[in-house]
Amino acid sequence: MPDPLLTLEGVHTHIGRYHILQGVDFEVPRGSFTVLLGRNGAGKTTTLRTIMGLWKASQGNIRFAGQDMTARPTPEIAAAGIAYIPENMSVFSGLTVRENLLLAARAGKIDATRLEWIFSLFPAMQRFFGSAAGTLSGGQKQMLAIARALIEPRDLILVDEPTKGLAPAIVANMIKAFREVKNAGATVLLVEQNFMAAKMLGDAVAVMDDGRIVHRGAMAELAADHALQHRLLGLHMDAHQ
């Protein structure tokens, strides 16, 4: 297995008086597509937000590319090479698609080759390049959120439930796009409840429950073991199969 790009060791996170992450341990190998699965409230989103420094880990260690990120502020974590696509997409509605991308391009200008690649992933983006992001549909906003993370080369992309609430055809497009991102060699940590999508994309998988990792392994193994799927993911996940 390649060396880990991201390592979480015994990470605990408190939000107010709630103890959400209760000792999370897992690794994201460099160049892999790792999927974090688990039921609602298991702590998946909190894990991503803790990695990004949006919620501070109260205990434990987060290492990225050999550097300790645990107590670093969010802008430093982003500058170190981690892109984050939140669950609610968080595109800037009042800004145009171009401006959203320009903001994410920290060099101050959009690389033309990279933009062409993004247009090839999401052809619709080219048409609404000058439109305000607030006028886009849910699927288009999700494409923009992903494009924003791809506009510059990043070492790690954190994605939080990109298929949530989207029509099946758009989900299929998104899976196709993520496959291309994967083929381009990106390292991705994806939080997903849609097991079908997770199965199609993931190399490695970690399953969370009650703020802890309860299973780690290859996605192919989990995909082949229905009993394990049922035990770890329950009926909720079966519904997506």
Binding site: A78, S90, F92, F128, S131, G134, S137, G139, A167
Partner: protein, 340 residues
């Protein structure tokens, strides 16, 4: 995806139409007032006076709306930067009385520009210190913000007391800015009011230019919507907060100079006196919206001027009534900024 869903995805691409209704409201108010006032020349005088007053209010309020929108800070101390700005003009006017009384237009403009520069620099510096000492410990705590910013306002007001005394101070307009300018039969417009309109328009255009054509502006607009995501993209939002707060304080200082010349009398509490009006404008316009702030300022000034002429007793409540009507129509203000 069904065809209908796909169609919805495609049709969502249309550009958003410009919301013209708020822009047309001040025009409509002015046109409605014309027959009620009766005399065209009086209407012109009142309207130009309102535009000047509106522009000065806009200059004072624009900084507050950005601070409100971007930083989510309720800064009751904003008013004191207006007073500081106005009093800083004394540092220029007293030693340069000759420039004020000179018939030379260049010297008159020079003294006004110096007043503005000194006022903006000092107010901006006060803003930096205010943000560091008073605002920073109470981010995301609205009740404490109200209390400590009021406290900060009182402290700085008392400092002005110590240095300039408590009595009102009369200031004179530079020679060429005094008196009126005939723009038609029986129509005289005060020169200073025209200058205030020009400076207000210049400030508005400069702000729009910065917000829409620069990277800093892009960050501010994004930060008003979702500061957390701006941080997740790798930008230090705190630095932006400090910069915007200082710029907002400097703009209040500029407004203070303009307001001081408008009233031709400086009092320590002049900033506090207009603070309610400024909050009304910011709320009417939509928190964080510069365009809304401009429309709100003009609307407040027009309504105040017309009602003061037509029914002076109603003028006392006209602004509150205006805010009530606007909020019943658009609870988030004329141009609500979408926040995540």
């Amino acid at each position: 995806m069904t065809d209908r869903t796909a169609e919805r995805e495609e049709t969502a691409l249309a550009s958003p139409p410009i919301d013209w209704i708020p822009i047309l409201i001040p025009v409509a108010v002015a046109l409605i007032a014309l027959p009620l006032i009766g005399s065209f020349s009086t209407w012109v005088t009142l309207t130009v006076a309102a535009l000047a007053m509106g522009m000065i209010i806009f200059i004072m309020a624009s900084g507050l709306t950005l601070v409100f929108g971007l930083m989510d800070v309720i800064n009751f101390g904003h008013g004191v930067f207006i007073s500081v700005g106005a009093y800083m003009s004394l540092l220029v006017l007293r030693p340069l009385t000759g420039w004020v009384e000179s018939p030379s237009l260049a010297l008159n403009i020079g003294v006004l520009v110096l007043c503005i520069l000194v006022a903006m620099a000092v107010s901006g510096m006060f803003g930096l210190v205010f943000e560091r000492l008073i605002i920073r410990p109470v981010y995301r705590q609205h009740l404490k913000q109200i209390l400590v910013t009021m406290g900060g306002l009182i402290i700085i007001e008392q400092l002005l007391h110590v240095f300039f005394g408590g009595s009102p101070i009369t200031i004179a307009l530079p020679q060429n800015f005094r008196g009126g300018l005939a723009i038609g039969p029986d129509m005289i417009v005060e020169r200073y009011r025209l200058i205030a309109v020009v400076i207000g328009v210049a400030v508005f255009l400069a702000m729009m230019l910065v917000l829409n054509r620069t990277r800093i502006g892009l960050l501010v607009r994004a930060g008003v919507e979702n500061p957390e995501m701006v941080e997740a993209l790798g930008y230090r939002i705190r630095r932006l907060f400090v910069g915007v707060f200082a710029a907002g304080s400097a703009l209040a200082g500029l407004g203070g100079v303009m307001w001081g010349f408008y009233q031709q009398t400086l009092t320590i509490g002049m900033g506090l006196q207009v603070l309610v009006l400024i909050f009304i404008v910011v709320i009417i316009g939509g928190l964080g919206s510069i365009g809304g702030c401009l429309i709100g300022s003009l609307l407040v000034a027009l309504v105040a001027n017309y009602t003061a002429f037509l029914e002076p007793k109603i003028a006392l409540i006209s602004n509150i009534a205006l805010m009530l009507v606007v909020l019943m129509w658009r609870p988030q203000g004329l141009y609500p900024v979408v926040k995540v």
